[in-house]
Amino acid sequence: MDEKQLVASVLSGDDGALRILIGKYERLVAHMVGRVVSDGMDREELCQDVFVKIYEKLSTFHFDSKLSTWIATIAYRMAVNFAKKKRLNQVDFDSVEFQIPDSARSYEDEDLSRFVVKLVDQLPTSYKMVLTLFYLDGFSYPEIVEITGMPEGTVKNYLHRAKSKLKVIIEEHARKEVELV
């Protein structure tokens, strides 16, 4: 079933098609929401609300963009609004004070990669979202621009700054570990 048929079936009231649509995009929505909201209950509730909104607005979607981009746009807006409402990660990038967890006291590459995930969680919401859309969901720059409404220069800048900052912290951390050993 292609996406146009899927959307048509969902709009005609087919529960099976609706389940397929949710199954296909729940990973994307979970990424967006999971990066912003830490509380388990709030996360699942927000994911539900995102899919309810997608269903309510589906009749206004005319395939001017990819369905995944349109769904990501809704998830992005709802996650960002939720974060604003609950005042989550409302910090400036330069003033983030990274908390270094003890569990990262290892210099195995895999542990360092997990350590990166913990650091990403501490970034401002907009940075987390751009990183998630680019690296985890594989969206291109123009698609991220469409989803977030940010200029392409800002998207590239966020990716570059966040990556450089994470690299510096990881390098410092690994160097300290070597010194300790």
């Binding site: 979970a30 990424h31 699942e44 994911c47 539900q48 590459d109 990669s113 990166v116």
Partner: protein, 108 residues
């Protein structure tokens, strides 16, 4: 020598811990259908309410004119004008709140 660029990229590509359960799809479908039923009930209620209001107003007008002997005094028509004006304003308000606002939100 570690490749820190690769370590950072691997970390950024790592799946989040948060996963939606197997029953998530069913929960969402149930929630959507429940909300649809509620909004359908609201819609029917408003239709019935509107019909009763129209019939009631019509009856009111008929009774009002039945008691009126003549149009000699314009002052006698003032309460009717107020009633009709209030009804029109009420209908306009409900139309804006229930129909137009929703339409504009969907178009935005």
């Amino acid at each position: 020598m570690k490749n820190f660029d690769k370590i950072v990229e691997d970390g950024l590509k790592m799946e989040t811990d948060f996963k939606l359960g197997l029953e998530f799809k069913d929960k969402v479908v149930k929630l959507i259908r429940k909300r649809e039923r509620v909004s359908q009930r609201k819609f029917y209620f408003l239709i019935v309410f509107g019909m009763i209001t129209i019939v009631g107003s019509g009856l009111g007008v008929v009774l009002y004119f039945a008691e009126l002997q003549s149009f000699e005094s314009l002052r006698q028509i003032v309460p009717l004008a107020v009633l009709v004006g209030s009804l029109v304003a009420g209908i306009q308000y409900l139309d804006k709140k229930l129909v137009k606002d929703k339409m504009f939100k969907q178009l935005a």
